[in-house]
């Protein structure tokens, strides 16, 4: 498919040493400007799928193509922005320099870097904190730096692994809105791992439900809530219907939602 940003076909991953089949024959097409959430029980292979797409782990079988290129080529071309659950900032760099890190690696000149960092700092609402060090920020602010860093070089694809998992509910909902704004303003495509059904529904254009042992795609739920989404979206009847639909898909996939 030529209009796919991500094209996953027959992807399997076995960790030979631990004798664990983390992913079993996964196929998935993700289009331009989609926001796809992966949800499923713990250990079903969400992180592994994300890492295989990002060419961090080598698949045992199958292939991943990003913008029509093999994952490795896409990585070397700087097509990925990555956000982890922990912010993973460099303590010895200021906020501005943390955001500029990928720009340095991609060889942007100084003037361009400074201009882009300024832009990003404003987008994630951190103006005035440019010269702070990470340890001087709250957890939510640190994660905003990490998101700004991932978006800074306008990568074709954003891979986010439970980026808000460690934050409190209120911070999380605010950052959800900020993320959607960033996503709408940039041309990016997002793959987003979460444990929260409502977060997945609120953010996504599609929710991919996975089942465990071996990790498979058990259902795909398209989310037809209108854009742009707002705080009030969470109170619409359609929102609750979709949350229910995803929850049932999770149960059908054998997820034990305690």
């Amino acid at each position: 498919m030529s209009d796919s940003v991500v094209s996953i076909s027959g992807l399997s991953k076995t960790f030979a040493k631990a004798d664990i089949t983390a992913l079993d024959d996964i196929s998935l097409e993700i289009g331009q400007r989609e926001f796809v959430s992966l949800i499923g029980p713990s250990g079903c292979g969400k992180s592994t799928l994300l890492r295989a797409v990002g060419d961090i782990v080598e698949p045992t079988a199958g292939s991943v193509e990003v913008n029509g290129k093999p994952a490795r080529r896409a990585r070397l071309d700087g097509d990925y922005g990555i956000v982890f659950q922990a912010p993973v900032l460099y303590d010895w760099r200021t906020v501005a320099k943390n955001i500029a890190l990928p720009l340095e690696m991609l060889g942007w000149d100084r003037a361009r870097r400074v201009a882009r960092v300024k832009e990003m700092v404003e987008l994630v609402d951190l103006a005035g904190f440019e010269d702070h060090h990470p340890w001087q920020l709250s957890g939510g602010m640190q994660q905003r730096v990490s998101i700004a860093r991932a978006f800074s070089f306008s990568p074709a694809l954003l891979l986010m692994d439970e980026p808000f998992g460690a934050l409190d509910e209120m911070t999380r909902e605010r950052l959800n809105l900020e993320l959607l704004r960033l996503w709408l303003e940039t041309e990016s495509t997002v793959i987003f791992v979460t444990h929260s059904i409502s977060e997945a529904v609120f953010l996504s254009t599609r929710v991919v439900v996975m089942s465990a042992r071996p990790g498979r795609v058990s259902a795909i739920v398209p989310i037809d809530l209108p854009q742009p989404r707002m705080a009030a979206t969470r109170e619409e009847a359609r929102f609750f219907e979709l949350v229910t639909e995803v929850r049932e898909a999770l149960h059908a996939g054998g997820a034990d939602l305690a």
Partner: protein, 299 residues
């Protein structure tokens, strides 16, 4: 608003700094008093009971501490300058050897650590020799190195005696730096490494932008150990090659007159200790400035 807040915060910080400086000064005074008490108490007890084990105590084996300190302000010889002034010049001479030795040893140690961590072959091939080098007693190799290098000629140039001593200081410096460099470079956050991988960062970019900065706290731990070791190396290096200008020379010299004036040797030891502590404090000070980390990361 924010300036007022900043001023208040600044004042509170200054007050806290003064308090901590005062309490640190207090602790230092207490420790010094305790050491003095230990020395004089031990002396008094051994003399009063007449114990001969492990050695008999008298004014020769253990002079009074105040006598040792007073000796610093006596002329070093009849009509000569005060002992403290002589020892000060010796300490400066030894410090020069130690500083050069430290700089060379730390650089070599760091580069060796980087090379070993970057090339797996070297880990096998080089590491055993690095470790073995530290099992050779420094007292055995010091004369060989200092005298041996003195017989060496490179294009008509022979290294000056103090430079040869600096080699011994470097020899004691490099090992902790190598070991901690290797450990420090491996201490980088695995997810930060994945991030660099995702930016298609090359080996050297990962090294300079991530691994070396992550290694800084480890490096400074090594520098603090090595700073004092370089002073010890310089003193030991001077002794066997009869270089008279440094503290090692002073120790050899006063050792010969120990029975007559034991206080002079002890005073020299005090000055040597002070030099070592100074080196440590300089390393600590540089660390405070250089390592930008969350406060709890600083020792």
């Amino acid at each position: 608003m924010s300036t007022i807040a900043a001023t208040i915060a600044g004042r509170a910080k200054a007050a806290a700094a003064t308090r901590s400086a005062l309490s640190r000064g207090g602790v230092l005074a207490l420790v010094l008093a305790a050491l003095w008490g230990l020395w004089e108490g031990y002396r008094w007890l051994w003399i009063a009971t007449g114990w001969g084990w492990p050695f008999a105590v008298d004014d020769i084996t253990m002079p009074h501490l105040h006598a040792i300190v007073a000796q610093l302000f006596e002329p070093s010889r009849t009509g000569g300058p005060l002992l403290i002034s002589v020892l000060f010049h010796s300490a400066v001479f030894t410090a020069k050897e130690a500083v050069v030795g430290f700089a060379v040893g730390a650089s070599v140690g760091f580069l060796l650590g980087v090379a070993i961590s970057q090339f797996r072959v070297l880990q096998r091939g080089l590491m055993p020799y690095v470790v073995a080098s530290q099992t050779i007693p420094i007292l055995a190799i010091a004369p060989m190195v200092v005298v041996g290098l003195g017989n060496m000629q490179v294009a008509g140039w022979t290294p000056a005696p103090w430079l040869r001593v600096a080699v011994i200081a470097a020899y004691l410096t490099f090992f902790p730096v190598t070991v901690n460099t290797i450990r420090g470079l491996q201490s980088a956050d695995p997810r930060a490494l994945e991030l660099m991988h995702s930016y298609a960062a090359g080996r050297w970019a990962v090294l300079w932008k991530l691994r070396v900065p992550s290694a800084m706290p480890y490096l400074f731990s090594a520098f603090k150990v090595s700073a004092t070791a370089s002073v010890v190396g310089a003193i030991i290096g001077e002794a066997p090659s009869s270089i008279p200008d440094g503290l090692g020379g002073a120790i050899i010299n006063f050792n010969q007159y120990y029975a007559l004036a034991p206080e002079s040797l002890w005073a020299t030891n005090l000055v040597a200790a002070a030099l070592g502590i100074t080196f440590f404090l300089v390393a600590l000070g540089v660390e405070r400035v250089a390592v930008r980390r969350a406060p709890e990361h600083l020792a």
